[in-house]
């Protein structure tokens, strides 16, 4: 590329970025949403869960206990929770889990759950009748189970003691020695990498594809529809310079969006996440460099493909109706990649379009740098990127792109 050509490509890319950023809706879509999405998710989601849990804890549930003789110790456990207990005689006995006539009361939500309990010989048999589509009924069932587990534990300990045995050695004859986490030789960073590898590739792939849709359409079918392309095509620049300039413009906008989203995610993980499962992954320099390389190759392919498909279209509407559903081409392989076992993964997976980059990202996030795999995904990704660029160049070379609907 000579100096004049470089200047023209730069001028096209600069104009595209300037024009795009002058639309405030774009700034929100490309900058504000990506940077705030994960931090807000990490703040809002725990808050929402806490608030929902508090709301459930505060409600008093109505439970009917059907039994000929309710053990006092069980009643004591139930009364410790926010359960309003109504006692009734047991009429339905075969088996206890058969709702029988009580189905009407539960379906009308006049009560939240029914506990049936009876002693046959030395064994207590019980069943909880509830309606799983009601939150309060589920909560009532959950509280009854907690009370029964506590009561059962006390009963077990009492019976063991009555037999003259030591409760601790009888109930726990096999024990783990030391801290359980000490047995895992993976570092916390590697564990974090494994967790992140399950969703970061998906997020990156989907976001790269989806955030490139709007600029791709605007810079191709949009120009065609608005009638600005003819003036542009009469300028002393080649179609390939035009493609490269527009590609650079879309890649810059998309790249900024994806980078900000990753920044927001890492900020959320580093400063907002309270879980020990998720954290900043340990990545070597070469793994980090390869991650960037794989994303770049993926972006080259995706942006070129989107520009080509949008340029084929006669209008913004037509381009949108092609590129919108095309996101399935990314989502399906991305979901599919999540279930591939990386231990002993077959080499051919690293040659499958889209899957190869997503698998590479998964492996690299776990800091696994396997030369054979890298050679395959790099080679195939480069090939796919070149094919996409060639296809885009063909579309940009079409004579009919000058015609506009307007």
């Amino acid at each position: 590329m000579n100096n004049g050509s470089f200047k023209r490509v730069k001028a096209i890319a600069k104009k595209e970025v300037v024009e795009f950023t002058r639309d405030w809706r774009t700034i929100i879509a490309i900058i504000v949403i990506p940077i705030l999405m994960f931090p807000l998710l990490f703040i809002m989601f725990p808050l929402l869960l806490e608030s929902e849990a508090a709301e459930l804890n505060s409600i008093v549930v109505d439970v009917v206990i059907q039994s000929d003789e309710v053990p006092d110790s069980l009643l004591g456990q139930l009364n410790d929770t926010s359960i309003l207990v109504y006692e009734e005689n047991l009429t339905e006995r075969t088996p206890l889990s058969n709702p029988g006539e009580d189905i009407t009361r539960l379906r009308s939500l006049s009560i939240d759950a029914i506990l049936r309990i009876e002693q046959r010989d030395d064994i207590w048999y019980y069943a909880i009748i509830h309606i799983s589509t009601s939150e309060s009924s589920n909560e009532a069932r959950s509280r009854i189970i907690d009370a029964i587990i506590a009561w059962e534990s006390n009963e077990t300990e009492r019976i063991i003691s009555d037999q003259g045995l030591d409760v601790n050695t009888t109930l726990n004859p096999v024990r783990w020695d030391g801290e359980i986490s000490q047995g895992d030789v993976a570092t916390q960073g590697e564990q974090a990498g494994m967790v992140l590898s399950l969703f970061i590739p998906l997020v990156l792939a989907v976001w790269t594809f989806s955030s490139a849709i709007q600029p791709s359409i605007d810079m191709t079918a949009g120009e065609r529809e608005r009638g600005t392309l003819e003036a542009l095509l009469s300028l002393p620049c080649t179609r390939n310079e035009l493609l490269f300039g527009k590609w650079l413009g879309v890649a810059t906008i998309t790249g900024v969006g994806v980078l900000l989203q990753i920044f927001g995610l890492l900020f959320a993980i580093g400063y907002l996440a309270s879980s020990s499962i998720i954290g900043i992954p340990d990545l070597s320099l070469e793994a980090t460099a390869l991650i960037i390389l794989s994303i770049m190759l993926f972006a080259v392919m995706v942006v070129a493909l989107e520009l080509a498909l949008a340029m084929r279209s006669h209008s913004v509407k037509e381009a949108g109706s092609i590129l919108g559903p095309a996101i399935i081409l990314i989502i399906f392989p991305a979901l599919f990649t999540q279930v591939i076992n990386l231990d002993g993964v077959e080499n051919f997976w690293f040659a499958v379009p889209v899957v190869n980059v997503l698998l590479a990202l998964r492996e690299l996030l776990m800091d696994r740098v396997i030369v054979e795999h890298i050679a395959i995904w790099f080679g195939t990704s480069l090939l796919y990127a070149l094919m996409a660029a060639y296809y885009a160049a063909k579309q940009f070379g079409r004579e009919d792109i000058v015609t506009s609907l307007s």
Binding site: K15, E230, L233, P236
Partner: protein, 277 residues
């Protein structure tokens, strides 16, 4: 004698089965204003696009004075397409500067030429405004300034007064006359014979892809033995104009079939069948 700036030799242009232009040859001389006159679909825009290098001829050549094909020497051309092609989120000056940079002209030189012509077009105060709110006339003037900013040898104008109010159209025509007086070379496509007569030194009448006449207004009147250009035009274009069906009809077969599948047939009373009456 004026030197030839552009030579069009045996140029044909087809879009699928449609011959938009058939073996056209003409020369554009330095310092002349050439009017391309014809009905819709006659081939005026196709010829202008061939001259600007946007289209490649199916056969024949379009070359500049040094024998270089036009698509290799676009920096010598200034083009104003019918749609003007302005970016609404850029200011008028940014639109002009963008094209000048693509032509390899410095911002300083571009501004110097732009401000000079902007004064004539009464656009100087509007150069810093976004073109989104511009009227059709202001858009046309901005497109003209953009085409002139790099100092082209040939200016190609595709219906520059279409849709303009009377005052704006007069201003545009005045600028074209001024450029002619300064020795500029302009190819000017229009529907309006009166406008062509007023502005152009030479008129080329195109009909159904062929050149029907080429000469000064006086020569056209003499050759057709008519008293007005309108009569001359009518006598030269008696053959029925073809429907516009050129390069815009480039849909795929499946797309066409699908659209027709959900299009009801024209009712018989619309077709003119009055048997039901």
């Amino acid at each position: 004698m004026s030197e030839t700036l552009m030579t069009i030799s045996n140029v044909s242009k087809s879009f699928g089965d449609v011959n938009a232009l058939r073996s056209i040859s003409l020369e554009i001389k330095s310092g002349e204003v050439v009017g391309l006159v014809g009905s819709n679909g006659a081939g005026k825009t196709t010829l202008l696009r061939l001259m600007s290098g946007v289209y490649k001829p199916t056969s024949g050549t379009v070359c500049l004075d040094d024998g270089t094909p036009v698509d290799k020497m676009r920096q010598r051309l200034g083009v104003v397409p019918e749609s003007t092609g302005l970016y609404s989120r850029l200011t008028a000056w940014e639109n002009i500067r963008y094209h000048s940079r693509m032509h390899g002209v410095s911002d300083k030189d571009s501004w110097s030429r732009t401000s000079r012509f902007a004064k004539h077009l009464d656009m100087l105060e509007n150069l810093g405004r976004h073109t989104k709110g511009f009227s059709r006339g202001m858009r046309q003037k901005t497109a003209l300034l953009r085409a002139l900013a790099h100092g082209p040898s040939v200016l190609l104008l595709d219906e520059p007064t279409a849709g303009l109010d009377i005052t704006s159209a007069r201003t545009v025509r005045a600028l074209v006359k001024q450029l002619r007086d300064e020795g500029g070379t302009i190819v000017y496509s229009t529907h309006h014979l009166a406008e062509a007569q007023q502005v152009c030194d030479r008129i080329i009448i195109i009909h159904n892809g062929d050149i029907q006449a080429d000469g000064s207004p006086d020569v056209l009147l003499k050759d057709t033995e008519t008293t007005t250009l309108e009569e001359a035009y009518v006598s030269l274009t008696q053959e029925k104009a073809r429907p516009r069906n050129d390069d815009q009809d480039n849909e795929g077969r499946f797309t066409k079939w699908w659209r027709r599948l959900f299009t009801p047939r024209v009712p018989r009373y619309i077709e003119g069948d009055d048997s039901s009456e």
